[in-house]
Amino acid sequence: MLLQVLVSGIAMGFIYSLVGYEFTLIWNAASLINFAHDKFIMISAYIFAGTFVIGLGTNPIVAVIITLIIMGVFGALVAVGIFNPLRNMPSDLYAVTGTLLLARILAELTRLIWGPVPFTIQNFITGVVHIGGIVIPQINIAIIVVSVVFLIFLQLLFKKTKIGKAMRCVSQDKTASSLMGINVQRYIIFTIALSTMICTVIGILIIPTFMVTTDMGSMIGLKGFAASVVGGFGILPGNIVGGMTVGILENLSILVLPAIYKDVVAFVLLILFLLIRPNGILGKRKD
């Protein structure tokens, strides 16, 4: 039992880490909190499942690639059309409202295009594996494997490629970057597009567990914020530390608390950290 719970915890931990990762990227690059990120996750799932796999019967692997491309372009468009104006507004409040409205709009569009009925993909990573007498859902293994591979890919992207390095420069210091000849605007858009593609990966990974519905990403999106704060806001590795902490603790909690409180754990952690150690586990102590 403990092992199963741990594996679930680690799998969800990776999901939360990825969520934290994608919105931290946008925060570092554009100083904007993307409250619509959970809808980016949702719409990726709808496009992948609704349009391609189910609608057109496309091979899942091909569908993944196509969806990634579409969402990348989508992210870039949103970056230019909506995030840019919002970033230039005088107060945080408008940016928050703006991204929340964007979330609403996306949810409504999705409902109108694909209909309000939740659905899922038959036989899509829905089986279980038997490891040494313990039954573990395949999806958890898939999530862990895919996440690890993806995170390694992201590390390589940032450390080894020119695009990745440029994105890191832009996140750290826009003025210096532009003085080095980096087209800051372009790389901000790239960063947002990359963040959107991370949302796509998340969206596809959570289909078996959460089904395809308009609020499939809501809880995950919020817990992703919790993960980020717990681990250390604004610090990319903080998302992994925080994500694991939240994922494992909330799954372990069902061993000691009634299962209905599982969701509450993440938010209690969030508030505790905000009050006691807002810089998170990896963050520096305040001066």
């Binding site: 909506i82 919002l86 609403r104 508030i271």
Partner: protein, 346 residues
């Protein structure tokens, strides 16, 4: 040489302009009072009731986000607590709805203190997260403590009010009761905003360092703002429970907090008129855009988004701009070129 009494509308001090606002308010109250005579449709009356309850919540919300500029997405949690106090006490313990309504005040006070303290150390996004966390936790607890709260079934058959034995739970009489509540809420808001308190709230939004340099205890003022907002919110929640007769946890999620935020922003942050206007417009929306059928929510969201980008300070600011433009045109006609543009003169 311009008259010293020009531009009095900029001031948060009682003057001729605030008197004219009272007159506008009186006119609105009269219009509102005769409204029920124009329709016997129960649905519309309930809609008006809902608008009145929303006005109260947004008026409170205005103190903390509109004036003091602190991010707050916890309105749904506050409303939920007010609603459940009324719902549970009246249905389970047979306590009079009047007492339950009065209990919303200390409840709001406690919530205000509870949310106020984090706001002292957290700003912007972190504060938004804390208030979101508050709403989510309240919703989760209410859903899961089913023995206490009825869980997803909610609380049913919440009784209406009785005044000296006469029931005021029929639609028209409840409408007038709510109208009285709104009038009281607005008058209190006016008193608070057009006074040193309103100035202190706005000053905090404009420049916290300067406020401290003026000897004001910012922590104290922030908590006062949160407390006011929460008391209004709890009362709104209690009235909402009476209005609907039935409450369940699903209603009180972040979407509700967000609705109130939209009301505040559309109407105009920081102004009483804006809070009222925003509450009316957003609540009436499903009706007025009915012709768009399935698309109305989408269209509205897009309109509001465009609004936020181009007219972020809401409709009231737009009206103010028009008022000032008209006023200066009229004055130009009267006094030739007496108008002095102060930004160009030493």
């Amino acid at each position: 040489m311009s008259n010293v009494h020009d531009n009095v509308e900029n001031s948060l001090v009682k003057n001729e302009y605030t008197k004219s606002k009272y007159i506008v308010f009186l006119v609105l109250v009269i219009l509102a009072s005769v409204l029920p005579f124009f329709t016997t449709n129960t649905y519309y009356i309930m809609l008006f009731d809902q608008i009145l309850v929303n006005i109260i919540v947004v008026l409170g919300f205005n103190f903390i986000t509109g004036l003091t500029g602190q991010m707050n997405l916890g309105t749904a949690g506050t409303v939920a607590i007010g609603a459940y106090i009324t719902g549970l006490l009246t249905v389970r313990c047979n306590i009079s709805p009047w007492i339950a309504l009065l209990l919303a005040i200390p409840a709001g006070y406690l919530i205000g203190k509870g949310l106020g303290y984090p706001s002292l150390r957290l700003k912007g996004f972190y504060l938004a997260l804390t208030t979101i966390g508050f709403t989510v936790i309240v919703q989760l607890m209410v859903t899961n403590l089913s023995d206490l709260t009825g869980g997803t079934q909610g609380v049913q058959r919440i009784p209406g009010f009785n005044l000296f034995g006469i029931s005021i739970s029929t639609n028209e009489s409840f409408y007038y009761f709510l109208l009285v509540c709104v009038i009281i809420a607005v008058l209190i808001s006016i008193k608070i905003i057009y006074s040193k308190w309103g100035r202190a709230f706005k000053a905090i939004r404009d420049n916290i360092d300067a406020v401290e340099a003026c000897g004001i205890d910012v922590a104290d003022i922030k908590i006062k703002a949160f407390t006011l907002a929460s008391i209004y919110g709890c009362i709104g929640g209690a009235l909402f429970a009476n209005l609907s007769g039935y409450i369940n946890p699903g209603t009180f999620g972040i979407d509700m907090s967000f609705n109130f935020l939209i009301m505040l922003m559309v109407g105009g942050i920081g102004s009483i008129g804006g809070s009222i206007l925003g509450a009316i417009i957003v609540t009436m929306l499903p009706e007025s855009l009915r012709f768009l059928q399935d698309y109305y929510w989408l269209i509205f969201s897009i309109i509001v988004l465009i609004f936020v980008i181009f007219q972020p300070n809401g409709l009231v600011e737009l009206f103010n701009k028009i008022y000032k433009a008209v006023k200066s045109k009229l004055l130009k006609k009267k006094g030739g070129d007496d108008i002095v543009d102060h930004s160009k003169v030493k």
